[in-house]
Amino acid sequence: MCGIVGLFAKSPSLEAHVGALTAQMLAVMGDRGPDSAGFAVYGADTGRLKLTLRSPDAAARDGALAALAARFGEVRPVRRDTHIVVSVPERDEIAARALLAESGVAVVGAGRRMELYKEVGRPEAVAAAFDLPAMAGTHAVGHTRMATESAVTTRGAHPFSTGPDQCLVHNGSLSNHNGVRRMLVREGIAFETENDSEVAAGYLTFRMREGASLEEALTAALADLDGFYTFLVGTRTGFAVLRDPIACKPAVMAETDDYVAFGSEFRALAGLPGIEDAHLFEPEPGRVYAWERPE
């Protein structure tokens, strides 16, 4: 099964509540996927590169922080449970990643605005552990997982991020991911897992690297990815939805002057402000829906 949710603020007044509303939507979708949960929040752009680091080992996290601080000076660490968000000058990304590879902590997300958290457990517990309700941002995506294609591990939890400020959550299963992964590896896209959803994320990263817009990348995905899917994708400024051409997996959207919201089921949207007057619709199969905001 799996549940996915997303919120894209159109009005600045909503931005302070994006974390709280996403947490509430995720918790409602817990029935669709109690194994693990994750989310990405697009916060303020500080002009530096944010790296979200994850390790279950506190000593490894401390070691990584010490190594980063010794090399780059102040990295502004924000600790949340098993994750730490640090920031480094953008030009230092390769050096920072090399240092982190030696320290044994995983880089789960990178970008100027995106922070990404995932862990095993029920979504309300995961959201609370990372204090999602207190986070602000312009948009966020979340996922609650019922594992089908790979083990119940933090690595197998969504969102998957394969490019800067890019992330994807997926409900469904792909059938041609091994072939697509081989093609993408040849093109230099790196994968951390054997998961089918990570391949979808990598495919979009590849297309956007080649110059496609988010909307164009998803349109191309219709031809190249085979299987069941509802994808919800975040980029630094964008938010998009695509369902497979026979709409195997559910999706409901709500749009008001203040936001665009996505839920696997309407229940997830029922608690949003102004939902009574929202334009409610089911995204049509095989059609790309995308929203962009200014930088």
Partner: protein
């Protein structure tokens, strides 16, 4: 009249109360507030009561309905009125996928649009959609009438048996073994009866789609397979 607020009391309590009603109950009208997209509301009713749901509902609302008249004042999730036996279900808004799936009788009226696979495997139910229906509607439909005032998506009536599909708007494409056919007197009478039951006037320009009956009849050419 009974009043039930799902914001205050659990859904199981509502369904249990509805299931406990005797067939000759005097408690014949139920207003239900705050459905909030919950699943399986007012499922499995077997008595002639009316249930008014004031908002959007989740999956399988009014499924297996017998004799009851259920109105949804909002949108319905997947499988509204699935496997309905008799009675009536009205959706004031849109319906998600598989509305009226495998229904055996009764009337389902959707005042908005229905998504994919509306009337899949219908077995005698009548379905009226005032808007449009999505792709693969009436897939493997066996019996009953699907009346669509708007358009139909791709592969309408794929692998159809003996249901009648009346569509007023455009049909994106027909599924395997589904063909447009001429309306006979019995077809006209069936359409009139369904519209009359739904309380709607016939604008007069429906077209009929039905099975070419070439898929489900044995062909002697295939004798070698046995």
């Amino acid at each position: 009249m009974s009043y039930f607020d799902l914001a205050d009391r659990p859904l199981r309590e509502l369904n249990a109360a509805l299931h406990a009603l005797p067939v000759d109950t005097n408690d014949t009208h139920w207003n239900v507030e705050n459905p909030a997209g919950r699943h399986a509301i007012a499922c499995g009713l077997t008595v002639p009561i009316t249930v008014d749901l004031k908002g959007h509902v989740g999956y399988y609302c009014a499924g297996m309905n017998k004799d009851a008249d259920v109105t949804i004042r909002g949108n319905a999730g997947v499988g509204v009125a699935e496997n309905m036996m008799s009675g009536r279900v009205t959706v004031k808004g849109d319906a998600s996928q598989s509305a009226g799936a495998s229904g055996r009788g009764g009337l389902l009226v959707i005042e908005g649009n229905a998504a994919a696979r509306c009337g899949i495997s219908m077995k005698g139910i009548d379905i009226v959609v005032k808007g449009s229906v999505g792709p693969m509607s009436a897939f493997m439909a066996q019996k009953g009438n699907l009346v669509v005032f708007g358009d139909a998506g791709e592969a309408l009536g794929d692998s159809l048996y003996e249901a009648r599909l009346f569509v007023r708007g455009t049909v994106a494409s027909l599924g395997a073994d589904c063909v447009e056919t001429t309306m006979g007197d019995d077809d006209r009478a069936a359409l009139a009866a369904v519209l009359d039951e739904a309380g709607l006037a016939d604008p007069g320009d429906f077209r009929l789609y039905a099975s070419a009956r070439s898929l489900y009849h044995f062909k002697v050419d295939n004798l070698d397979a046995y």
